[in-house]
Symmetry: D2
């Protein structure tokens, strides 16, 4: 259990775009950044409303001159400061991801961006180009990949423990949008201009899709989607059924829903090969259920017998003391810090953090769901 490391002498100076008062994911990013002591939040453009940006910055204890009214202002000035930010966390509604990320990338500031990558596929491709031409690193917080047992699942597949993968079942049902909601979170997430063409597909479907690909190691070749907006007046989807075909012949199903009463964040992944199967459940994430065909099912626990040693750094407390969402999220932040430090020292380290290509894949997933749905669920290519 290695969360404190002699090779990491000084926290990274971090800025944040978005995440002001009433935001949800910004606070999560801040805790994740704080958890292992590898970051110090020193600047922020926390809201597009200037007064709120100022107030939010003060609440977080930022110095007045590091509180900005816009990400452009922040990018420009911080880049010139001697002790300017080294990295920025972008936690705005989706449509701001691209311009904000671009502003920092072109100035060499490393970017940690929330998902989905962008609100349009065009933006996603432009952002990919911006990453390509930047010297800075780009990280996408598909945070569920930070859960140790998700990584253990990926290891099992890579090691061939499940044999050739045949079937992948992934689902992410929620219930909070079962009826019309009028809070800040619901508003932008159901506004196509800010959220993008996908509602549930963008907000949680991309997580499920990313998880399936991350664990199976397989690319999806095409999909067929039946996408719905059940709540009257809703402008984006709130439920989607998707059939998936992966390279090599594996087939899968993805279900995401925000109108399934009794589901909070009920993300669940099951992968089956010709030698075995596995199951992981986000709401009790410290356990991985594994069956080798012909043997009794067994349970690998985080930090317990059977967990790969390579995954040990992703765990902080001994087995039986549960780690959760924030710890998984913090794993991405810690690894990003390690990668940034290495980059600054001219080294490159490999991490498991999703990056720009995963982000583009996610936006292509949303786009493909919408296109398939418009063609009455015909198969559409992901290539």
């Amino acid at each position: 259990m290695a969360n404190e490391d002699s090779t990491f002498p000084r926290p990274i100076r971090l800025g944040m775009v978005g995440g002001g008062k009433d935001a949800f994911i910004g606070a999560v990013h801040r805790i994740a950044a704080r958890l292992d002591g590898r970051y110090e939040l020193v600047a922020g453009a926390l809201s597009s409303t200037p007064g709120k940006a100022l107030e939010s910055g003060r609440v977080l204890g930022l110095k007045e001159d590091r509180i900005y009214g816009s990400f452009e202002a922040m990018a420009k000035r911080e880049a010139r400061l001697k002790d300017g930010i080294e990295a920025v966390a972008i936690v705005t509604p989706n449509h701001v991801h691209y311009p904000a990320a671009k502003a920092f990338l072109k100035r060499g500031v490393h970017v940690i961006c929330d998902k989905p990558l962008t609100s349009t596929l065009a933006d996603a491709r432009k952002l990919a180009k911006a990453v390509e031409t930047s010297e800075a690193l780009f990280f996408l917080t598909h945070n569920y990949t930070g859960y140790p047992m998700v990584r253990q699942a990926r290891e099992l597949v890579r090691n061939g423990d499940l044999g050739t993968i045949r079937v992948i079942q992934v689902e992410y049902p929620q219930d909070w949008l079962t009826v019309e909601q009028h809070n800040k979170q619901a508003e932008w997430r159901t506004d196509p201009a800010r959220s993008g063409a996908g509602g549930s597909t963008g907000d949680i479907g991309t997580h499920a899709y990313n998880l399936a690909c991350f664990v199976s190691g397989l690319a999806c070749e095409c999909l067929a989607a039946d996408v719905q907006s059940f709540v009257p007046g809703r402008l984006v989807d709130d439920n989607a059924h998707v059939m998936l075909r992966f390279e090599g012949g594996a087939r899968g199903m993805l279900w995401c829903s925000q109108v399934a009463p009794g589901n909070e964040n009920n993300l669940r992944l099951r992968v089956y090969g010709d030698k075995g199967g596995l199951e992981w459940h986000q709401e009790n994430p410290n356990y991985l259920h594994v069956t080798k065909f012909g043997q009794p099912a067994h349970v690998v626990t985080r930090g317990g017998a059977g967990m790969s040693e390579e995954i040990a750094p992703a765990t902080r407390v001994p087995p039986g003391h549960p780690e959760g969402y924030l710890e998984g999220f913090a794993n991405l932040y810690r690894e990003a810090a390690d990668a940034i430090r290495a980059h600054q020292e001219g080294r490159t380290i490999s991490t498991l953090i999703p990056g720009i290509s995963d982000g583009v894949e996610g936006v292509k997933f949303v786009d493909a769901c919408v296109r398939s749905s418009h063609k009455n669920s015909a198969w559409v290519s992901m290539k």
Copy 2:
């Protein structure tokens, strides 16, 4: 808890077609028939192999002159006996269901038939006609409808507790055909001539489909299927992903698989409406998980608080003492007995046992899966 009933003075004389040595489902039917004391097995054509038919009949204690070498012989002779069978259980491979059922129906013997109804849609339609023109009753053992908590789930939907149904998720994964198998059960179930065009879709997909319709009370209008045979050389499907569209706008997904390691008979149903959701799991069937939107999830137990009184007769022991597969199966047999007695007395009683139309629907489901799959998963109508 009413399993013994003064109004049921004499057991029904039962015959059986199929279910000899090495068969599986025949023994299940016999226990189900025995459990409540409403049947007496008195005749059998237990195998299409005469020697085996004889041996199997003796093991079951049948009199020698009531052991038959063929269902035709049994139908003919029993119909002429003064104390001939009143009902027959048909538990053969699928392709025999139609001719066997027809032979008894036309002689006024009530039929309790295993699922799927027939191996072809043409047979299904002919059998429907035979039922229509017969004076005898016809019952189909989609046995999962016999579980008390499945009936409780159906009640909740009917009562409007879930509101308007939006989403139905049903799945039935198994793992026993993950590799090629050479036992009797596997052989006929993977032979299209005996099993029909569907493998997993026919054997377990029809159960899942029936369950979804039974509980939701909704008819499926069309489906889109992606059907696979993963095991090399297998002639029928062993995995299917199916998207469903129900009357009234509800959408659903059905997954059946016989190649998902770690799943025994992992049938699971979830139904979501605009007011609430429910979940039921066959492997722990005494519990129904219910959430009314905005309230904590609760668990209704078989026989416990919150279970509808109308369902009480479907339970034999108090809550906390689990009932299982055989008890659910026996509920169908008990109700069939009640319906047969009523019929003999000139009365008609309504039961929840699936019948001929459910059977035709099931075969149409298999047929539609195959057709959709041939059209690259295009939507095909169920009408």
Copy 3:
């Protein structure tokens, strides 16, 4: 899966004492007897109230001359009949067990008796003597020992898979007596004259105690009990905490309660040795959770990989189709039938059914709980 057996040509003629209208456990015994087709109920003294005895016998379809007003009358007459009963099930309140069992044992009729053995320790010892001097067999329905996974647990201990046993935790909480109840079941079970000195200790504590001994193979040497009657006016205990010391140094705890809201029949057993541990839960009884120290926990399923072949006859349907309370109960009846047939043929077969010594142990357990409690929870010997 062997429930139908060529070596068992003719059902055993069975009588029943108790189990009339409004009784609970009598119906359970009848289903258990019926399930595998090895018994035929032909006589009964179903109630101590003559009118009710008659009515109950008719409901069950007994011939009028085989319906008796008292067990004495039944024992006397049936013993003289050419086709008199071969075995009798005694399902009365506890205080009748001894006189009824004695009446049949002395006439050579095999006895299948419900638990606890008797209402007093003196009766238990007299009954033990009656069994000793009888040529008939005596079986006690501690039915939880009939669950296949309980037997699998016992096998694991016997095979040394858990190493030397150190700790045994067993508990049986219910909630139905949380408040005062006035139904027939509650009345006699809370009446010391009919139930014996123990309330929860006798009714369910004896089950838990028997289960712990059955699986561990260890005798309890002494116990210390803190016994309560929480409901005002209740004359017998409704909750008991008991510490146990077993031969060889293992220690344990037993908790039984009838006043624990949220518990239906929440019997749970855990056994720990120096090499591994196991856990079994009555409300989901088809699974046995096993951990070998230093390895991931695994789950053995009824009929699945890892289940001992010797236990296979105790299972009727394949894994994943749950068996429950009645099937476990029926396992005792089937084995009793096999033992009775063997006995009639001059053979002796060994079975796992609890017998007279287990029954005496159970009554000693209740007696010891009461004595310890009177001594302010001092240790009292079980020898």
Copy 4:
């Protein structure tokens, strides 16, 4: 969800005693302190071995002159510094708690101390006196009280939702000491000189005991214990069975074990009253299972419907995204920070953090277990 608070402008300067290299709980305290941004670690006496203290301090980025070789040196110098520590976390083996705490308390430094309070009852009483005479605050990290659903459980009891409490079942089994261990953690925890008279009773039994009292709101009046050391050569207990009698007549059982294979940190609490019951399980801590007698069981989720609003501040992310051990621990740190700030401003706020009296109770629990065990499990008073 309030983890960032405008009324908390500046982090508290924190020192740490113990928690150097190879320690476990020190890192947990540091993460807990960091999580909500309310502390800054500025000084440490991280090991009693000077070289290790220095090395450990450097790894944590402490300034050289704030790294101390002993807690005495640290207490003396920090108390004189203008920006000296305001609070100290004591995370040493148990026998150091008393002298270390005393050194800081007498200099007005607030103390956050790990459990159990001390290694002897004499020390506990002296420490209580030191707290009484100090102006500084004292907090004890019985961290399980920080879990939101534990607090919800306590609320339910206080609100009378369970009625009068009758039965409390608490258990804390682990398995890591099933065989002899030779790592640092095992060594001091099984050494009576450092750990105190209790092994499992002190290390985890005190947690279980505290949890039972915290949730039920009841004081334990006396206990009877059967305490064992199963592993040969072990000098402290590794398993204990304890019967409890609470004020007002409630009874309970506590089981703690470090030799129960298959248990990681399987702390579980159940509380039953005459109106309802509840159950909480540390390994899946975001759920509270509640049954009101006569109603279906329901599940209250962290942040979900039915959770008390007063508990909201103890949760950081929405329901369905699990929080775990570190978040619960951090709740104590956050509240301690709030209390310290209030104290500095001359205000007093009430918190739910365990304090000195809980600590004394815990040591009395260990002492009572040992005494009862020496008297062959006689009841001993906790007063």
